[in-house]
Amino acid sequence: MRVLLIEDEIRLAENVAGSLRESAGYAVDVSHDGEQGLFLAESNPYDLVLLDLMLPLMSGVEVLKAIRAAGQHSPVLVLTARDEKDSIIDLLNAGADDYLTKPFDLGELLARCKALIRRGKGRSSPLMKIGDLEINTANHLVRRAGDNVPLTAMEYRVLEYLAHRANAVVSKTELLEHLYDYNWEKFSNVIEVYVSGLRRKLNDGSSRQLIQTLRGQGYILQG
């Protein structure tokens, strides 16, 4: 999953981004001002946008409205130091999906991020079932036919994304866009390495391939 964090307090941004990367395994892009944040939000398909309100150059509310006006449907979680009811109502009405008031709890922030991403993909349960494959998005545990499948962090991220888009063709570019932040060099053969690793681990003891490759098009996860 790829998340955009727009926050001008550099230290706070570092902590939030670090935590999202470490604990949730998200790719996080960070912007310290509203204009750059809006540019990133409009040019990348983020799975979630974390938005501070007091931003240089362009306020968070303006960024939010511009994102929604551009037809972006990424869930937006607003981080605000204000907790007056009126401003919260205005925010939700302007297209925000949720809000957290500073100082917030990192654990709560992570849980809300996961919930928002889930809902953004049209799900409400943290447990995803595709055939005999079970993916728990809360604790990142994967089981196939009741057996635990140990995955590396990157393999899990690839699988989770494919699972969210189950029964649809996902191109390598789409995977790259959602799994890496813009600081990474994007080489598509990296994906191939992870997918082949996933196939090997998931098929351990089973003959049916869950992930199929459509040559020239991408991958498809089918139950």
Binding site: R11, G18, E22, P56, A81, D105
Partner: protein
């Protein structure tokens, strides 16, 4: 202290003045009555005395004596008590007297001609002495005699008349007084009613409701207008300072949230998963850094609050006289490393040494804040000027000048506001809280001085501080 009622005091004044008026009226009435009674009595006395004199005649036989015809004597003046009279001729002695003439009646006339009062056996008498009254009866062969008439009438009526008049006027006054006092009571109550309305309105004012509705009857009362005007100005001042305090508190709480959020997130991230001791150390050091920032913010806010308290309260502090230039040099020294890091040269010029009573730490803080701003907005390798001089005879003038990007006119008057950040385009990384200039202004104002900024976009900014040489 014993409570005083304006209403009662006014009423007391009215009653006292009315009682005095009534007393005066009664006295005047009594005096007037006395004059009238006396005048009419004197008139009667004169008429009676003259008629007594007219009753003296010569005898038919031509003998040399005078006759007094008692039977023709007029009735007594008051018609009840008999008068006393006596008529005598100079050459012949007593000619006639009233029938019941008391031998020991004081007959000596004090005046040749005139009235006087005398008491005899407890009875007040009014006496008329007439001297040398010519005889009415004339005979050709008789000499003319000059007659002396002494006529006294008991003056019973005077006292009763006086008493009646006094009583009448006094009673009438009392009757009128009860009416006028009631009227005054009503009038006083009515005219003091606006005070009650004013108090009602004033009691509605609270920290949540500053609105003061002046009741119309209060507005129309001349005497209350200065009071209501003063109240309005006082309320406006109070509301302003109260809302400033509340705003400050709100701002402060809001500003505290961010450093707290940073510190909290640093610590939470540290315990999110097991880490190596080196990672823990880095994390703790970071938390300490975040803590320092929080501490700096708290320190700045306290400093501002204290400075504003000085400025508002004009607290008298014991200040020794210090040299402005030395505080400037100290501030420049304090920021030397920051300036060098940015490649800025700070040029200090001192027109003359100026001494004034101040706390050197306060002034140093002001110059350091101004310099810190100047360095922040100065391009690399540019010059920053600090200049000390006189403005007129009674003000020191300190100018801190940079050649940075300048401040737009719309921002110029806002830079001294608390928590105002001039550079909205930069992310917050330098631990700036937007309190430096607010603190500087409060400190300068605490010394009775003023601070202002002049700026030209693209050319630079001049911060000008003027301090009075002696606090007034």
């Amino acid at each position: 202290m014993k409570g005083r009622s304006i209403q009662k005091r006014l009423l007391l004044a009215v009653v006292i003045s009315q009682v005095l008026l009534a007393l005066g009226l009664t006295c005047a009435g009594v005096l007037y009555t006395r004059r009238r009674v006396m005048a009419s009595l004197d008139e009667s006395l004169r008429a009676h005395a003259t008629s007594i004199a007219a009753l003296v005649r010569f005898p038919e036989d031509g003998s040399k004596r005078l006759l007094f015809d008692q039977s023709l004597a007029p009735k007594s003046i008051d018609g009840v008590h008999s008068d006393v009279y006596r008529v005598s001729a100079r050459a012949l002695g007593m000619v006639g007297q009233s029938p019941g003439w008391p031998q020991d009646f004081p007959t000596s006339c004090k005046l040749q001609n005139g009235f006087f009062s005398v008491a005899f056996r407890g009875v007040p008498y009014r006496v008329l002495c007439l001297a040398e009254v010519p005889m009415l009866d004339r005979e050709e062969d008789q000499p003319t005699y000059a007659l002396d008439v002494f006529y006294a009438a008991p003056n019973w009526t005077l006292r009763s008349e006086e008493r009646a008049a006094g009583l009448y006027i006094a009673l009438a006054s009392l009757l009128l007084m009860s009416g006028t006092t009631a009227l005054a009571w009503w009038g006083i109550r009515r005219s003091l009613l606006p005070l009650q309305h004013l108090a009602d309105q004033a009691s509605r004012i609270s920290a949540l409701n500053w609105e003061f509705h002046n009741p119309p009857e209060v507005e129309l009362t001349d005497e209350l207008r200065p009071l209501t005007t003063a109240m309005k100005t006082m309320l406006q001042r109070l509301e302003k300072s109260f809302s400033q305090q509340r705003e400050f508190l709100g701002n402060a709480a809001h500003e505290l949230k961010t450093p707290v959020a940073i510190l909290k997130s640093t610590l939470q991230r540290l315990i999110q998963k097991p880490r190596s001791s080196a990672e823990y150390e880095t994390g703790i050091l970071q938390a300490l850094e975040d803590m320092d920032r929080l501490e700096k913010l708290l320190h700045s806010m306290l400093r501002l609050a204290r400075a504003e308290q000085w400025a508002n309260g004009r607290l008298k502090r014991n200040l020794s006289t210090i040299d402005i230039a030395s505080t400037c040099e100290a501030a420049i020294e304090r920021l030397r490393t920051v300036a060098e890091k940015n490649g800025n040269e700070v040029q200090f010029t001192c027109e003359r040494h100026i001494a004034l009573p101040a706390d050197p730490e306060d002034l140093e803080t002001v110059w350091a804040n101004l310099l810190e701003n100047a360095i922040r907005y100065s391009p690399r390798e540019s010059r920053i000027g600090v200049h000390v001089g006189l403005n007129g005879n009674d003000h020191a003038k300190v100018v801190v000048e940079d050649h940075g990007e300048g401040i737009s006119q719309s921002d110029l008057h806002r830079i001294f506001e608390r928590f105002h950040r001039a550079d909205a385009s930069r992310a917050r990384d330098t631990g700036q809280f937007g309190l430096g200039l607010a603190i500087s202004r409060a400190l300068v104002e605490a010394y009775g001085g003023n601070i202002r900024a002049e700026s030209e976009l693209g050319r630079g900014t001049r911060m000008i501080v003027e301090l009075p040489l002696s606090p007034e």
